[in-house]
């Protein structure tokens, strides 16, 4: 009794503490923490606007990676020696940190994976085993290939039906059409929280409520949301939430699958191997408990620990102010780009994040991207792994500038200058 009260006190106090240590949002100070931003590319100051593809890493994460491999490297969950114990403790502490950040009920609900793609494949393979021929899965027209292909493969394997919720020309989900696709046959809705190509923020809370009303589960692809907006999986009430560490200021090669405990408990293991077992004989193997049931083999230990460090960084940040800054950047860029004749912003949802995708009449995105690159500007061009979405807009691709909170208006000015020069050269 006394202990729980004490724990509660520590928790509450902890929250107050983290609120207190949040510094006021200051771009200049934040930029200083990202060494990758301070470099020259082809002799020009780097302007990094490809945050949708991956984010740069703060010094605190770089230090953590270095520290782990210099001093703490050991295998986890299997050693009695000091270093193994320490690495295990840190790996599990990271899981708890992520659990708290997402407001998941239990740390057992946080599964470490290789990334968003791996998390989705895990659900498709494992939750997919619980589905039967004729069952339906709904995705949307703006999904990343990672949230299309695993479901297509599952549908072929199990005889399921894949339905696609349409969007309008602004890049917003058509909710009435979505409602009509929902039925008792719907077993899963797998939808992106934020579109990587358009920036659209989908009304996932409403989608989740509606899907639950027909008894369907919901997977939210959070690959583009967790770095921009506060995510609370219990408030959303999603059944699965996936994301990649590398887009949220952590290392590559690691990511997370959040799943509700009862659901994860019912799902068969994904891959077999060490760590995921309870007891192995040649006749029969019993499986380990959550979360280890889904974590076969030696995991990306440094990745898991340092993803925790990335969340420590996020916790120190005033996310509300950071998001406001990002939206201001997007608005600033869009207002300038809008003045260019023949330029079309692709993705004009009312509710969107700091992604600015566009095409220019008569110009190929590849050409623009190549010339911008030579002027030190890193943007992404092409279909952004959303080919069906490009087909919908009848374009081969877009130029996409995706901003993070460490970007600035001055950088947008440099981008616009380089863009004008590129236009002049290409026209």
């Amino acid at each position: 009794m006394f202990r729980t009260i004490q724990n509660k006190l520590i928790c509450t106090f902890g929250n107050i503490m983290t609120d207190l240590i949040k510094k006021p949002f200051n771009v200049k100070e934040i930029r200083e923490q990202f060494p990758a931003l301070r470099q020259k590319i082809y002799g020009k100051n780097l302007v990094y606007f490809d945050n949708g593809a991956t984010s740069q890493k703060p010094q605190i994460v770089l230090d953590a990676i270095n520290l782990f491999y210099s001093k703490e490297n050991a295998n986890i969950h299997r050693g009695v020696h000091y270093m193994s114990q320490k690495a295990t403790t840190e790996y599990e502490a990271s899981r708890i940190r992520i659990q708290k950040y997402l407001n998941a009920k239990k740390s057992e609900e946080i599964i470490f994976t290789k990334g968003a793609t791996d998390s989705i494949n895990l659900v498709a393979s494992s939750y997919g085993e619980l589905l039967q021929a004729g069952d339906e899965i709904i995705i949307s027209a703006m999904e990343h290939h990672s949230n299309i292909v695993p479901w297509q493969m599952l549908c072929i394997r199990k005889g399921l039906v894949l339905r696609v919720a349409p969007i309008n020309k602004k890049g917003e989900l058509l909710m009435e059409e979505f409602d009509q696709l929902l039925s008792k046959k719907t077993k899963l809705v797998a939808i992106t929280h934020i579109s990587n190509t358009l920036g659209t923020i989908n009304p996932v809370k409403e989608i989740i409520q509606k899907a639950h009303a027909v008894g369907a589960k919901v997977l939210i692809d959070g690959a583009q949301s967790i770095q921009h907006i506060k995510v609370d999986v219990r408030d959303l009430d999603c059944d699965f939430f996936v994301f990649s560490s590398h887009k949220v200021f952590g290392p590559t090669g690691i990511g997370v699958l959040y799943g509700k405990e009862d659901l994860l408990d019912r799902m068969p293991p994904y891959q077999g191997g060490g760590d995921m077992i309870s007891k192995v004989t040649f006749e029969r193997t019993t499986y380990n408990e959550l979360p280890f049931k889904f974590e076969a083999g030696t995991p990306h230990i440094a990745g898991g620990i340092c993803l925790g460090t990335a969340f420590e960084f996020l916790e120190s940040l005033d996310m509300v102010a950071a998001e406001k800054h990002e939206r201001e950047l997007a608005k600033y860029a869009e207002d300038i780009l809008d003045t260019f004749e023949g330029l079309h912003i692709i993705g004009e949802a009312k509710n969107k994040t700091s992604v600015v995708s566009f095409t220019v009449d008569g110009l190929h995105p590849f050409d623009l991207g190549t010339l911008l690159d030579k002027q030190g500007i890193a943007v992404r061009t092409g279909h952004h792994c959303t080919q069906p979405l490009m087909d919908f807009f009848k374009i081969p691709g877009t130029v996409r500038a995706s901003f993070a909170f460490y970007n600035t208006k001055q950088e947008i000015d440099l981008f616009v200058e380089a863009f004008e020069k590129s236009l002049f050269m290409l026209k």
């Binding site: 190929h364 590849f366 010339l371 081969p396 050269m425 290409l426």
Partner: protein, 138 residues
């Protein structure tokens, strides 16, 4: 001129450029100027699909040499196609197969011929050679 001499000529031409933008201005102009392919030849079987830009390549074997025409939807890709054709056109299949296209690297454009660039050019060079292979020893 041999293929090697043509490569040297391009390298010298590029030597006068001071910076990237000048190089690209030249490539873009090449791309704009080139009447590269007969529209009827823009067919599926002549298409080399890059992830970012697409290339069409048509080849003919005439009087013991290869003749190539090609096109792309991206102008920079088209300009580089222009350079590749300048070097490989009207050459015998034997010399085309033997050629090491080092000039691309020498003028600093190797990224365009790297498989990660996904602009269809790697596939195009491969196809120029496999087409030449068909006519070897004829």
């Amino acid at each position: 001129m041999t293929i090697e001499e043509k490569q040297q000529e391009i390298i010298e031409e590029f030597n006068v450029f001071d910076d990237w933008m000048e190089k690209y201005e030249y490539i873009i102009d090449l791309g704009k100027d080139l009447p590269i392919i007969n529209e009827n030849y823009k067919t599926e079987d002549r298409l080399i699909e890059g992830c970012q830009s697409r290339v069409w390549l048509h080849s003919e074997y005439k009087e013991s040499v290869m003749e190539y025409t090609a096109d792309s939807d991206a102008i920079i890709t088209k300009g580089i196609i222009g350079l590749l054709i300048q070097v490989m056109n009207k050459e015998t299949p034997e010399s085309i197969l033997k050629t090491d296209l080092h000039f691309i690297k020498d003028i600093g454009l190797q990224e365009h011929l790297s498989p990660t660039r996904a602009n269809g050019l790697v596939g195009m060079v491969k196809k120029m050679k496999t087409e030449a292979l068909k006519y070897i020893n004829q």
